[in-house]
Subunit: 372 residues, 2 copies
Amino acid sequence: MARPMGPVRLKKTNPLTLLIGAALCIFILYFLLGSSAPDFSAARKATAASHPLSPPTSPFRQSSSGGKLKPPPVTRYNLNNVTITNTPIENRENVLVLTPMARFYQGYWDNLLQLTYPHELITLGFILPKNKEGNAAYAELDKQITKTQKYGPEKDRFKSIIILRQDFDPPLVSQDEAERHKMQNQKPRRAAMAKARNSLLFTTLGPDTSWVLWLDADVIETPPSLIQDLAFHNKPLIAPNCFQKFYNSEKKKMDERPYDFNNWQDSPTALKLGESLGPDDILLEGYHDMPTYRTLMAYMAEDGGDVHYEIPLDGVGGTALLVKADVHRDGAMFPPFSFYHLIETEGFAKMARRLGWQATGLPNYKVFHYNE
Amino acid sequence: MARPMGPVRLKKTNPLTLLIGAALCIFILYFLLGSSAPDFSAARKATAASHPLSPPTSPFRQSSSGGKLKPPPVTRYNLNNVTITNTPIENRENVLVLTPMARFYQGYWDNLLQLTYPHELITLGFILPKNKEGNAAYAELDKQITKTQKYGPEKDRFKSIIILRQDFDPPLVSQDEAERHKMQNQKPRRAAMAKARNSLLFTTLGPDTSWVLWLDADVIETPPSLIQDLAFHNKPLIAPNCFQKFYNSEKKKMDERPYDFNNWQDSPTALKLGESLGPDDILLEGYHDMPTYRTLMAYMAEDGGDVHYEIPLDGVGGTALLVKADVHRDGAMFPPFSFYHLIETEGFAKMARRLGWQATGLPNYKVFHYNE
């Protein structure tokens, strides 16, 4: 029952391949949202107390005078109101959108802009590789950020934006696409991706973040109410179904096909296969050589099916995934090593499970991946 | 070869017992360091670019006028200079000192103040339980912080301070000390402690943090050059040897005894014991019922021995531990579940190892624990 999904995976993994390395070199872009139109004054007041990621930094600004100042005042912030609920807008819950980015897609940014969750509650975090492709993506991202944060309408502007640059070289010598997607190359690639996600997560998650939305840089179309819709289910981890639009030359019209195969329910075969592996070996989904017979959410979408239909998941992908911040704060991260023979996002689902949190999937709630 | 260390552990674990729960309720105390005496102007300039934990938050301050402002400027920070070296002061490296605190000890605070690492490079992070004892500790901590940050000499003031309050109840009903230290109660206790450490770590680590010093709230005496001394070894994880001073009634004078038994080198017996355990079971150090025959750093100190003498460690304790921030950013956290039959700080050492980082111990470099 091996599935012919090689080519699909080939396209999927391509833009992420360059995200690698452990140590960080860091650029922080920060865009001021200082205006205070009456419509937004309440929001500004709410966020005035603290940054979503930290206490305020104003004390570190250089004094305009060179002289000794009087003892500074003590400022206290009581943030004892961090809720994580299925009505996040009403409760003014902060959302952190995290995106590892090897390539910039205009569709990704345009889709972000059309999200109807209040942008003044959204912090964006990016991590880009420190190489030629990463520099190109950075330049394009930078341009769009400036356009939105500086010149865009107030409602479009996000609360804050953080960009991390990695400084490690890619672990693979060959950049040949077929070579990179060979099964034996998947483990270092996924491990590097896991480290990139961890670096981004550990340095941007704040004490008053309620939700973390993992959104891959090549996801270019989601419902505008994505965040509210997913949060409405009030689940610790919840994944929509990631599809891809393409021109079906047989049907002579646009069509859709499943894309993210890392959202799955476990199978006895996969578990047994895991037992037969060495402690450092990992199970991979979507390879002919390793049929797992897992139940893939990608194939569970039904035409006209209820978008609220929920299924439990044992493995999750990273294309789009809403996580309660408490799950991460408890310690759930993306294992860059074999964890129950799983790695990266799939290992994350298992780690969350070990912490008592169950992943959920929405087979009929679709988001769409770029078609290269 | 079971060791009679029951009473010692009893004393050690006591002040940490109340640190529990997963979700956070959060207080952030933030103390302004706005003055700019000439001596510190360079430091202020260096830190003006960004908070150790995040981009600056000034944009979120309420505008003094209610009117619409002109489009805000775009501000960029290039922080591509985060080094982690054995000369951290020369390289102006930021240190994050993290302390889970169930009780406040004046000795802890006084010891912090006497650290000679430049305080303007040190951020303090605390997590306290949200119960009566935590409230008492919070009040005392608050008082000392105000004294130091507001009225203290400029050189004493820390870069910033973050305090998190947990809102979960203790997992154990009985607060009887003997009951709490029964072996079967250790796993939930250590798991709760691990979650507290993770919450603190995930929400305070920043992109420009170079080092994380884990320092328990009951460590009341260290060499003033602790941070520099440990960083000098340039190791990913490095632990000094935690002792306790006490009055030796036999010798009729003050004496020292080993205290932290979680710094150890593995033994074939312990590894074999691990294999015999169920997947969720953990190995514990220091219990008669479970002799591990591990080599404990606690017993390796030599009178007049070289303080720079290094040994490799397989398990580490949390009383005092300096970690390169990259280790955490790669994803190393404190497993609140059985990880290779290890949990919390001991599991952290194993997880770091899985990420390629080896722990080191300094048997002759001592720090001292409070004696209740």
